[in-house]
Symmetry: C2
Subunit: 250 residues, 2 copies
DNA sequence: GTCAACAGGATTGTATACAATTTCTATGAG
DNA sequence: CTCATAGAAATTGTATACAATCCTGTTGAC
């Protein structure tokens, strides 16, 4: 199975992660299946629930003060989305993402992003271009503030703007889905010192290419923009390797 | 909402499509949630269940001789996969695919296929190449038999072989998923008279490109190979237009 | 001391019961 | 005759109960 990121068996993780982890706002809207799905999804993507960790139905049900029924529906959805694995009669487990699979995902992401950029360069109108430029400026501001989290956020919005500009709603959906799936890793990746400056420079090049209606150029830059993240990330994990690695047995 | 393919309101479709439509084989293995999902999925993809048609929980449950619980789980999965739409307190409906969305999906499919071809040309080994050639020959045999269904089947296997040869398991999964999603439309598309011959010729070009390790060439041919299907299909529906079109209001 | 077999407990999968919401139908006003 | 409204029937969403399966700890044979 090769190396795996971020092990489970660190903490039994009693599944009542927090007593305060109530759904949305006060109990105004009782937790529906969708709320539960989103909550757990977020916990997985942010790394709160570690790969390999088991998701206890009863525990989650108790935490949200509902029965197991809506919890199971949420788990079904998460399984179809590929975030967890549902083993019959054994339970639900956060899927372990191997380095290999992660690189593969970045490879596909790069292709989709490149495609979105190419289409955006072909189809963008004045309004959309203005939005993109605005998002890019926001990225620059965030970068200057030297706050990785702020940049992370603006970077997110910038890329989503590109998806939206591509004029292909289906592609937009697929790209957002995969983007979200990778978000936890992308975040880590931005810690690398000079990466933010480089990322920002690439953003500028991307917007210029779209402005110039340079389809091939935009595709190329955008694709590399993502691929670099994948490679950098691979380097990153190759460096630590031991610490948080190896789920079952290294 | 623009034009939509294949309307629902043709037949109440009493949801007991068939009394004989029992699950797998005899009742040896009782119908689990997965079986139900696959059965319904197939019914949707083959066009048996038409876009907009409602999926009655109780009806399906009765048909498979189970309670509503596993049926609901199956529906959840299908909703996440994008095949049906789950409207709260209203029920599950087969998603209507607009022509626009369909073209968008073909556009993405073309990109993924092109990518798979490019990677296959880069990474293929002797064994995989042999498999591809074998699949291609099988396509030729089927084409010569003038049997659209036979060709459809072999065509399916040929494309899956390319996905498997690309060396990116994640891409392979995504491509197969989308491919399956489009299978119903692809099938229709092959009815066009000379399309099979042309498709076969393209297959031969693709294998040659992979054999020659011509990444760019293979990507190009494969991408067009899919895009043509999308365009042809758009032409196709534009032709009929009226007959089986328009779900809510034209 | 090690390993296999078995019983008990715990957890998942399914069925049934009930609550919440929507849709259909009938009634009556305008 | 049309439309709005109220109530009944049907359907979805959730909770609870039960069945099937798996995990754990103990016992006993070798």
């Amino acid at each position: 199975m090769s190396t795996v990121l971020s092990s489970a068996n660190i903490d039994p993780q009693s599944d009542n992660l927090d007593t305060e982890a109530q759904p949305n706002g006060r109990d105004g809207g009782r937790a529906k299946a969708t709320d539960i799905r989103e909550a757990i999804e977020q916990e997985i993507l942010t790394g709160l629930r570690k790969p390999g960790a088991k998701l206890d139905e009863k525990g989650i049900a108790d935490r949200f003060a509902v029965s197991r029924t809506p919890v199971r529906e949420a788990l079904q959805q998460l399984a179809t989305a590929g975030l967890i694995e549902l083993i019959p009669h054994r339970g639900a487990f956060v899927r372990s993402v191997s380095i290999r699979e992660l690189i593969e995902m970045f490879e596909v992401m790069a292709e989709l992003e490149g495609m979105a950029g190419r289409l955006a360069a072909r189809r963008v109108d004045a309004d959309m271009l203005a939005v993109l430029q605005k998002r890019m400026v926001a990225c620059r501001t965030a970068a200057e503030s030297q706050d990785p989290d702020a940049y992370y956020h603006e970077n997110e919005r910038f890329h989503r703007a590109i998806y939206e500009a591509c004029g292909n709603a289906f592609l937009e959906g697929e790209a957002k889905r995969l983007h979200q799936r990778l978000q936890a890793f992308r975040r880590l990746q931005l810690r690398v010192p000079k990466r933010i400056d480089q990322s920002l420079a690439e953003h500028e090049t991307i917007v210029e290419a779209i402005d110039a209606r340079d389809e091939a150029g935009c595709e190329q830059v955008l694709r590399n923009h993502i691929l670099i993240q994948g490679e950098r990330f691979a380097d990153f994990v190759a460096l630590l390797d031991e610490p948080a690695t190896g789920t079952a047995g290294s």
